[in-house]
Each structure stands twice: as structure tokens, then as C-alpha cells.
């Protein structure tokens, strides 16, 4: 007897956002623009903020697309209501043999901060990690001066696993990088 399987069709879509592959030119222009927002860069990245041209960024994006074995599974985040690209999310540094990977997310359009867009995008990313990449756990690093992100990650189920003390130096002060992790079993409950 034939059986029909009901597969989840909308693994890329939530209620507020969808995960998409945007045109590299659109992405490059957005990244070049968001890079100029110091607040965004400080919250996102340990590397010194740099202002690359959209042309250079597009070259990197296109090279990444050419890689036959992708090192990163990255998506752009699109606001469903306006169709606007508001940020990016992705999984990388995948240890396939151990089932662990690192997730990174950024909402470049600051008017979308604190409204649940990032949290939903993270939930979609975790669903992808656990039901499509079949990871056992997902790891992330977040800076101690980014309480909004820490709350969002806790809401989604990440647990604090420790702190790298003074791993970052900014504005003459030392800051910790918090390492948080979520196991598949914890995600399934939530």
C-alpha cells in the first residue's frame, strides 16, 4: 500500500520572516550599508569594524556560492510584510562527525530590533539545523554587552555554557564572550 508523507513544506518561512537567498548585488549593497552602523558592528562582530566596498563584498559572496562543498549554510532574512531584506543568519564551522555547529545572526535594519524578528529567524535556523542538517547541538558566542541578544537566545532555548573571560577588548575595557549551547533534545521540548 502506498503511504503519503506530510513533509514540512515551509521550513524557510515563519509568521514574520522568511529565510531566502537574495541576489548577491542586493546582499552586498545591504552589507556595505549596515557596516557603516557602528552599533550594529559592535554587537555582531569581534573583528574590527571595516568598510568594504559593495563590489568587494559581492566578489566574496559569489566566491562562496561557487564553493561546491559549502562551509556555511547562510540565508538572508526577509520581512514578509514589506519584502525587505532585514538581516542574515547561518550555520558554520560544522563538525559533521560530532553533530555540532555554530550559528550566527544579524539584523542589519535597526528598526526591526526588539520586535521578535531576530528571535523568529533564529527559531527557523534552529529548525533547519536539527531537522535538515541533523545536528545534535548548536553553539553560539555572544558578547557580554549585548543583553538583547542574550535574552533572545534564552527565549529560544539556548543555555549558558560558560564565558571566555576578557576575550575582547573594546573602548579600553575587557569584555567576556558568553558561549551558549542548545541540544536537540532541548529544542524538541521547546
Amino acid at each position: 500500500m502506498e503511504r503519503e508523507y506530510e513533509m514540512m513544506k515551509n521550513i524557510f518561512q515563519g509568521k514574520l520572516v522568511s529565510l531566502v537567498a537574495e541576489d548577491p548585488q542586493v546582499v552586498a549593497n545591504a552589507y556595505a550599508h549596515w557596516n557603516r552602523n557602528a552599533e550594529f558592528k559592535r554587537l555582531l562582530d569581534a573583528d574590527p569594524a571595516m568598510l568594504w566596498s559593495a563590489k568587494k563584498i559581492k566578489e566574496w559572496l559569489e566566491k562562496e556560492i561557487e564553493d561546491s562543498e559549502p562551509k556555511f549554510f547562510s540565508f538572508q532574512i526577509r520581512d514578509l510584510q514589506s519584502g525587505k531584506m532585514i538581516g542574515f543568519t547561518g550555520l558554520g564551522d560544522l563538525e559533521w562527525n560530532h553533530g555540532d555547529g555554530w550559528v550566527g545572526i544579524g539584523i542589519g535594519e535597526s528598526e526591526y530590533w526588539g520586535k521578535g524578528y531576530g528571535t523568529e529567524a533564529m527559531q527557523l535556523t534552529l529548525r533547519y539545523a536539527f531537522t535538515e542538517l541533523n545536528l545534535h547541538r548548536v553553539t553560539l558566542g555572544v558578547f557580554d554587552y549585548n543583553p538583547r541578544a542574550i535574552r533572545s537566545y534564552e527565549k529560544v532555548g539556548f543555555k549558558l555554557e560558560g564565558r571566555l573571560r576578557g576575550e575582547m577588548s573594546r573602548q579600553g575595557k575587557r569584555h567576556d564572550i558568553l558561549i551558549m549551547g542548545i541540544l536537540r533534545s532541548e529544542w524538541e521540548i521547546g
Binding site: 562527525n97 555540532d100 573571560r165
Partner: protein, 190 residues
């Protein structure tokens, strides 16, 4: 400034350059010891021929030269210059002055002789007094109790426990990040 303080010479061992012709055969033997490989890396353990080891050395020196965020040392006996292991500082974030450390003594018969302890001591001196780093991290799997004790004896403190991040021999293990601040090291060695 005391120019006479040695950087690379201990009583038992030295930190030394790689000698690809001589070292490749010895290191190839070590890579056939799964316990050795698995104690050092999450990568799937795989044995290497001397030719493959030589290629690895070439790639390593190229990376040291180009990425400028790694320092690699062979560990050799003072008595007869025999290769007994390696040690390195890598993934250095210069703006934050942090890095990771790794150390291995290849032949089990060469362990528990004080070679690793002395080599690590010189590596820490290099990291803090020569590279001016603020902190170092060692990443060790739960099943490697010897390495956990080794780094803790050198002053490293357990900071992060990535739960079930390692999958080997049909079970899951935690992965620890241990950290050592320059101020703590200075306090220990003065």
C-alpha cells in the same frame, strides 16, 4: 630588558623549527596512533604517510607566513635533538590579544618525563612576554583527563563546558574551554 633570558631553550627540551625531511617519518608514525590524534583534535582521526605529513608542513608554514595569526614549534630533546612533539599558539586575535594553545607529545614513552610541562612553560612565556597576549584558551575533550590536569596544573581555569559537543566511540562527551590570563600566569611564575 635582559637579552640573555632564553625563549626556546629549556633543560630537557627546546622549542625548535620543523625539519620536514627528518620529522615527517616520525610524525607519520604518531598519526597511526588514534589515541594521540583523538586527544588533540575533533577532526576525524586519519593516518598520514610521510609524504602527506610533508604536505601538511608546507601548508602550515604557508599559513604561518600569510595569515600571521599562528606560531608553531617543534619540541626537540636538548640531548640529541630528537623530535618528541609540537606546540603552537593559533587563531590569534591581535586586536583583542587572545589566542588558542595546543601541545602534543607524540610517543607515549616520551610522556610523563616533564617534556610537555617544560615546553608549555616556554610557550606561555613566548605568548605573554614576546607576543604580549592578554589571555590564552585551551580546548580539551572530556575523555582527555590527562590534558585537563596538564593545563589546570599550568594555571588554566575551566571556563566553558560545551555539552555533548563530541561524539566518539558511540557516546557523547563534553568539550571544555580552559582559559589563562597573563595576570594569572604572572602571579604564578613570580
Amino acid at each position: 630588558m635582559d637579552v640573555k633570558i632564553p625563549l626556546f631553550d629549556g633543560e630537557l627540551v627546546c622549542l625548535a623549527p620543523i625539519d620536514p625531511e627528518r620529522d615527517a617519518e616520525i610524525e607519520s608514525k604518531w598519526t597511526h596512533d588514534a589515541e594521540y590524534l583523538r586527544s588533540l583534535s575533533l577532526d576525524p582521526a586519519r593516518p598520514l604517510s610521510p609524504a602527506q605529513v610533508k604536505k601538511k608542513y608546507e601548508a602550515l608554514e604557508k599559513d604561518v607566513e600569510e595569515a600571521k595569526n599562528q606560531f608553531y614549534f617543534a619540541v626537540r630533546l636538548r640531548s640529541d635533538d630528537r623530535l618528541v612533539g609540537f606546540t603552537r599558539i593559533y587563531w590569534i586575535w591581535w586586536t583583542h590579544r587572545s589566542g588558542l594553545v595546543s601541545l602534543g607529545i607524540g610517543d607515549p614513552g616520551d610522556r610523563k618525563q616533564g617534556y610537555g610541562t617544560e615546553a608549555l612553560g616556554m610557550l606561555l612565556g613566548y605568548a605573554f612576554d614576546e607576543l604580549n597576549l592578554y589571555r590564552l584558551t585551551a580546548v580539551v575533550a572530556e575523555y582527555n583527563q590527562a590534558a585537563l590536569r596538564f593545563f589546570e596544573n599550568a594555571g588554566f581555569v575551566q571556563e566553558v563546558r560545551r555539552r555533548e559537543a563530541v561524539n566518539r566511540d558511540g557516546r557523547r562527551w563534553d568539550l571544555f574551554h580552559l582559559g589563562l590570563l597573563e595576570s594569572e600566569w604572572k602571579g604564578n611564575t613570580r
